[in-house]
């Protein structure tokens, strides 16, 4: 376990090597990056077995990094079940995505001209995320957190010649950065209050006498604000759909394993902090459910396949946050894992379609692809059904855990809203599958064919996993995931089934699918059109993404930029022209006026001398007289 710090090193090494030498390597060194991430994936398992051997729990291995004044900052690691499952998920999805990318970044017989850079950043992305989950202190965590943000920026903006990609990359970085302001303030508050950066130490001394509870409360909210940015929670979710501008495998990575999971992970890692602040927990749950419902609603009306998936991610992240707010640590992380597998598959399937259909993403132009792309459509369908919550696919189990946690820990209002979200999930997933893969094949898609093997195999593997991974919830060899993945300080809880919730969730999910079939089951769109007409206003609001983007744009254009333009003008007119040029110009003006006293005539100077001497003489005389 001590050697677990090596896991991210592979990726960092690959990045550094590729960043410097990719021009001189065959294939721009892309295989090196894949090898590095495979090595990291392999290295996870000894860590797991070592922990099973030495005892499941929190293992801490500190290491010195630097110190300033009394502040000691290390780059040590924490190895606990949370870390292990995250490591496994991240490395696994990264391997799949990178292998898939080998095919995706190849068009015809030529690689993308910047393929080396693509893989270099991929490596850095995975490595940063691995460092994030291993970090044992707040600063290192923040370091990794920001590096993850950087990589998303670089990858979303990978095709930077496209104005939209450049803008999307900027939007993602700036939006998450706004959240990071909160996170950094929260982190610094904690560091100053507790005098250490060590996560475990801080979490253990939260309730100590002498600790200012106001600071703890404030930092809980602020840290969560950071998590909201990265995990695309309302109202900081606006970057997520735009992040589609990057290559599709990047979306798979961002949505399944890195970036958006960082926020959920952060809340889980600092779980005791939120546990100690009840109001923060409630806020997390509320934000979570709002995000879940908004995401689901938007997924329902979007016509762009990748956007549907993006909003679906947003909705599921809302589920995870809701679970965390309900105290369902296990449920949240479990769902994170299951969703990660399913969503990676969905995005890679979408990528496979785009690869075949010339980057087409509008689902209205698709249909009947089932016949042309059997592997892709099977994978997509499995993933969609999983996320819709159909047993025995993996996300069904995790969704059930969340339902239990919410029912056990929160107000019934949350339960009802969550059930609504379950129906919506099934509905939009059903819609996507039906519209894209079923029905008649459009003539323009006649030439579409299945993607190359290097892309199809990862899909097939993921599909199998989506079926089987859910069973880790069950008491097989242990008493259910709840005994392995436990929040610090909580009692392990065995797998349990509450029949009423189980039945409710299955019935609702199936109901949602049935509704989808009723609406989108055949070519006839009149039913949907009628519904859209009926609820035109609501549809407009949702289709315009609740006008959130407009609101942000308005704020930036009308407030931020105006303020800065005003300040720049103030700087120029007041500070510079008045404050600096003012004294300068007054000196010049004074000189300009005084110069008329200088005639240049000898007689005037002479008179001046005489008058001066006369005055001096007079003064001397007065002094001598007065004594």
């Amino acid at each position: 376990m001590e050697q677990a710090w090596l896991i991210p090193v592979f990726g960092f090494g690959a990045f550094a090597f590729l960043a410097l030498f990719r021009k001189y390597l065959p294939g721009q060194g892309k295989h090196l990056s894949v090898l590095a991430i495979i090595a990291a994936f392999v290295a996870v398992w000894p860590v797991l077995f070592d922990m099973l051997d030495k005892g499941v729990g929190e293992h801490h291995f500190p290491r010195d990094w630097f110190s300033a004044g009394p502040l000691e900052v290390g780059w040590g690691i924490i190895v606990d079940p949370l870390t292990i499952v995250m490591l496994a998920l991240i490395t696994f999805v990264s391997v799949i995505v990178q292998v898939y990318s080998l095919g995706y970044m190849r068009h015809g017989n030529a690689d993308d001209p910047r393929v080396g850079w693509y893989f270099a950043v991929h490596s850095l992305f995975s490595a940063s995320m691995l460092m994030l989950v291993l970090a044992d202190n707040l600063l290192l965590l923040y370091v990794a957190w920001e590096l993850v943000g950087l990589c998303s920026y670089l990858l979303i903006g990978f095709w930077f010649e496209r104005r939209s990609a450049a803008e999307a990359a900027k939007k993602a970085f700036v939006t998450t950065r706004i959240g990071d302001v909160g996170l950094l303030i929260g982190v610094v508050l904690l560091i100053v209050e507790f005098g250490t950066v060590d996560v475990i130490e801080i979490m253990n001394s939260l309730g100590d006498p002498g600790v200012n509870q106001a600071v703890v409360t404030a930092s809980a909210f602020l840290v969560f604000f950071g998590a909201m940015g990265k995990s695309a929670q309302f109202p900081l979710h606006v970057w997520l759909p735009d992040a589609m501008e990057g290559p599709t495998p990047v979306s798979a990575l961002i949505h399944a394993a890195t970036m958006v999971t960082a926020g959920v992970f952060l809340v889980a890692r600092l779980f005791p902090l939120f546990d100690a602040v009840e109001s923060a927990q409630l806020a997390i749950a509320a934000i979570g459910i709002v995000t879940a419902l908004m995401g689901a609603a938007m997924a329902l009306v979007m016509t762009d396949l990748k956007r549907i998936l993006a909003y679906s991610t947003m909705s599921h992240l809302g589920f995870m946050m809701l679970a965390l707010g309900a105290g369902g640590y296990t449920a949240a992380i479990f769902h994170l894992l299951m969703h990660g597998v399913a969503k990676a598959m969905l995005f890679l399937s979408a990528g496979s379609i785009m690869h075949a259909a010339h980057d087409e993403t509008d689902i209205r132009k698709m249909g009947g692809l089932r016949k042309r792309m059997p592997v892709t459509s099977a994978a997509f369908t499995v993933g969609a059904l999983a996320l819709a919550g159909i047993p025995p696919l993996n996300a069904f189990w995790s969704k059930d855990e969340i339902l239990l946690a919410v029912a056990g820990g929160l107000n019934p209002v949350f339960v009802v809203l969550f059930l609504v979200a379950i129906v919506l999930s099934a509905l939009y997933m059903g819609r996507a599958v039906l519209v894209v893969f079923f029905g008649k094949l459009k003539p323009e898609n006649d030439g579409v064919h299945e993607s190359p093997r290097i892309m199809a195999w990862p899909l097939a593997l993921l599909a199998v996993l989506a079926v089987v991974t859910g069973f880790i919830a069950l008491p097989i060899g242990y008493e259910g995931i709840g005994t392995f993945l436990v929040a610090p300080g909580d009692k392990p809880h065995a797998f349990e089934v509450v029949p009423v919730w189980l039945v409710a969730s299955v019935v609702l999910a199936l109901g949602g699918l049935a509704l989808a079939y009723a609406l989108y089951g055949d070519e006839d769109t009149s039913r949907v059109d009628a519904l859209r007409e009926r609820f035109a206003r609501a549809h407009d609001v949702v289709a315009n993404r609740f006008y959130m983007d407009h609101a942000y744009q308005w704020t930036i254009d009308r407030v931020v930029l105006r303020v800065s333009a005003f300040l720049a003008l103030f700087d120029r007119k007041v500070v510079n022209d008045v404050g600096v040029n003012g004294p300068g110009l007054s000196a010049v003006e004074a000189g300009r006026r005084l110069r008329y006293h200088v005639t240049g005539l000898f007689a005037d100077y002479g008179l001046g001398i005489v008058v001066g001497v006369a005055i001096l003489g007079a003064l001397l005389w007065i002094r001598s007289v007065t004594g």
Binding site: H597, L601, A603
Partner: protein, 101 residues
């Protein structure tokens, strides 16, 4: 002949010189007036030296200095006047105001 007589004579010459410096237009006359003023001072120095009763000749020595410097100054000034005459065709001081602000 007392010191006062020398004083009065010197003051009279000085005032004539001062008037000349302030009132004359011709540069040559101004120069001559300055010479008058210098000589008035010289007269003072020599007179004080003679009447001081210390038996020293400091006043006389300084007067010699002044004469020397005055000679140098006149040489320089006349050269300037010559240049002015050549370049401007006259030496009217009222027309020379290159230093005007």
């Amino acid at each position: 002949m007392t010191l006062l007589h020398f004083q009065l004579l010197s003051a009279a010459i000085f005032c004539i010189g001062l008037y000349g410096v302030l009132a004359r237009r011709s540069a040559v006359l101004v120069l001559m007036s300055i010479e008058l003023m210098l000589n008035a001072v010289n007269l003072q120095l020599v007179a004080f030296g003679a009447f001081s009763g210390f038996g020293t000749s400091t006043g006389q020595v300084i007067a010699v200095f002044v004469i020397t410097i005055a000679a140098a100054e006149v040489g320089l000034a006349l050269a300037i006047v010559m240049r002015l005459f050549r370049s401007r065709g006259g030496v009217n001081m009222d027309e020379i105001d290159v230093m005007r602000g």
